[in-house]
Amino acid sequence: MPQVEVPVVAPVELALDDLQHFLVTRTPALAARYEFLSFDDATAGRRWLCGIIDKVGTASTVGKESPDARWVTIAFTWHGLRALGVDAAALDTFPEEFRQGMAGRAELLGITGASHPDRWDAALRTPAFHAIVILFARDVAERDRATREHAAYVAKIPGVRVLTSLDLEALPPYGEPREHFGYLDRLSHTTIDGTNDEPTPGSVPKVNAGEFFLGYPDETGGTPALPQPEALTRNGSFLAYLRIQEHVGAFRDFLRTHGGPTRDEQELIAAKLMGRWRSGAPLVLATDKDDPELGKNLQRTNDFNYATMDPRGYACPVGSHIRRMNPRDTTDNLARHQIIRRGGTYGPLLPEGAPDDGVDRGIAAFMGCASLIRQFEFAMGVWANDPDFKGLHNERDPIIGTQDGTFDLTIPNRPIKKKITGIPAFTTIRAGAYLFLPGVQGLRFLSRTAGASSSEEAMST
């Protein structure tokens, strides 16, 4: 590459006392609840917000203040900002994709067929879906306690309705975050410039804060213009919400069909789909045999590349999930396509060997970024769903791509590659939304726009 002009940027000081903690701090939560709210009018919404703002954890309080057992986050849809009285001229300065919402953009992201928004949770497809309150809790008992508190609080404020909600719990055995297919999760970790967090070996170097928070220099070195008013948007972020149902029975059937009779062969197929063994060990470093110690060692489990260590994908297929969602040194501009993921699993674990019981289970997660179109939509529309990704033909991400039995997966091998045709859908998107996550000052702005009266209510702890 040529000499690139590197802009001189002063060290960034993050407004930790204003940023919601959500994208900065990963909390030790084993349970969560998402409540999707509607406000009958602006007054109701502001009253609700006034009494709950003090419960929202900031990047400076979370992890330091007591009680540190539950963590509250609040975000709004475009319709929600409008419902709270943000004026039309200001709303027009928000990005077009946020205004359209994920349902309005789903087809261009490749989210079609069984995952099409027409089949999503109806409560989240109406303009009446205004806000989400995300509760993360240290355990189920604390989650349930806080849920009761919030229900009592909402009951006191006429005109605030809970449209729907979702309970999430970590899957057993606890202590190792795993999703329903059994893969160890949370192995990649995006680090932000201006925090003390250091990237683990092999991870993406620290990313400028402006890639995640509005009002800071991004990876161009410049600071993009803020949507208006700045009192609302500074220190804010955008979130893409996805609830992804996992079809565990179909997944296990596939491993048996394509992996062969032995457990080892089936595990290898599972690894080829993901790019990591279910233990987390990456195929580039553990090509033929699983290495569970490597998998959970955060200092080693990301310490690999593709361009020199596995250029043709003999270890980790080019079309595997992790190689698509983070092509590492085989792509350009990586720092401009980062997202920070938060979320968890919902629904009960399907015991090994049990037939699929049809119960809804999966992952419900938020992808945080400064630009939905450049970060989330690129990852979803191109990395996950582009059939021609990296010179492949007719393939999509086997885990989170939209699959309907018409796409393939190529597993490079010598002397000849193995091609699995007709990958079934292991997942279906059941809900999606675009949200704006304001800073705490932004929340206060929303709570008092256009002459809002101060609330008499305050939610108890």
């Binding site: 261009l108 070195g221 213009a225 010179g391």
Partner: protein, 185 residues
């Protein structure tokens, strides 16, 4: 490879004025389809008065950049770039014609970043109407490109749909085969 993409059969495609026969939404607007001559852009814009010499001089700068780092433009998966300055009346216009394998709609931001890193944007900043905040505002950059793109109404290829990567692979194979024959003597 399906029949439509048979490289042995030269192919032409007539294209409606919109630039596409069927509207397919992309992230930044309707997408322009792949033709037998692959993807491409023909951007035509009036230059700011007095910048002609700077633009021509920049051709030399890019020649040196590519000589110094031959893979500098590799991410764009280009076949050819042709840059032309031409007058209409008293005004001078710039035409950027690029033929490439990358689906520009999909890799828009990467192309914008590469344009910036290699100094291609230096020329764009001399075009009238180019957004001042192009660096931190990719959507504005993309809007300019789309507004100044003039889709072809006909594209033809002697070896249709062949990517630059496939051309290079074939040449590598020929070279390897030739070496093998030499080594077998």
């Amino acid at each position: 490879m399906n029949e439509k993409q048979d490289w042995t059969k030269p192919a032409a495609m007539a294209i409606p004025a919109a630039g596409y026969a069927k509207e397919v939404r992309g992230r930044y607007g309707p997408t322009f389809p792949k033709t037998p001559a692959n993807y491409g852009f023909t951007i035509i814009a009036r230059i700011k008065p007095g910048t002609e010499d700077d633009i021509r001089a920049h051709g030399k700068t890019l020649e040196e950049a590519v000589a110094g780092a031959p893979d500098v433009l590799a991410p764009l998966q280009l076949h050819y770039l042709r840059w032309v300055l031409f007058p209409i009346g008293a005004d001078m216009y710039f035409m950027y014609q690029g033929i490439f394998d990358t689906d520009f709609d999909k890799y828009t931001e990467d192309a914008v970043a590469l344009f910036s890193a290699t100094g291609i944007t230096t020329i764009f900043t001399k075009l009238e109407g180019f957004p001042e905040d192009w660096k931190t505002n990719p959507p504005a950059f993309v809007k300019f490109v789309r507004e100044h793109h003039h889709p072809s109404f006909l594209e033809y290829a002697e070896y249709p749909y062949v990517s630059a990567l496939e051309v290079k692979k074939a040449l590598h194979m020929r070279q390897a085969f030739s070496t093998m024959l030499d080594e077998s003597q």
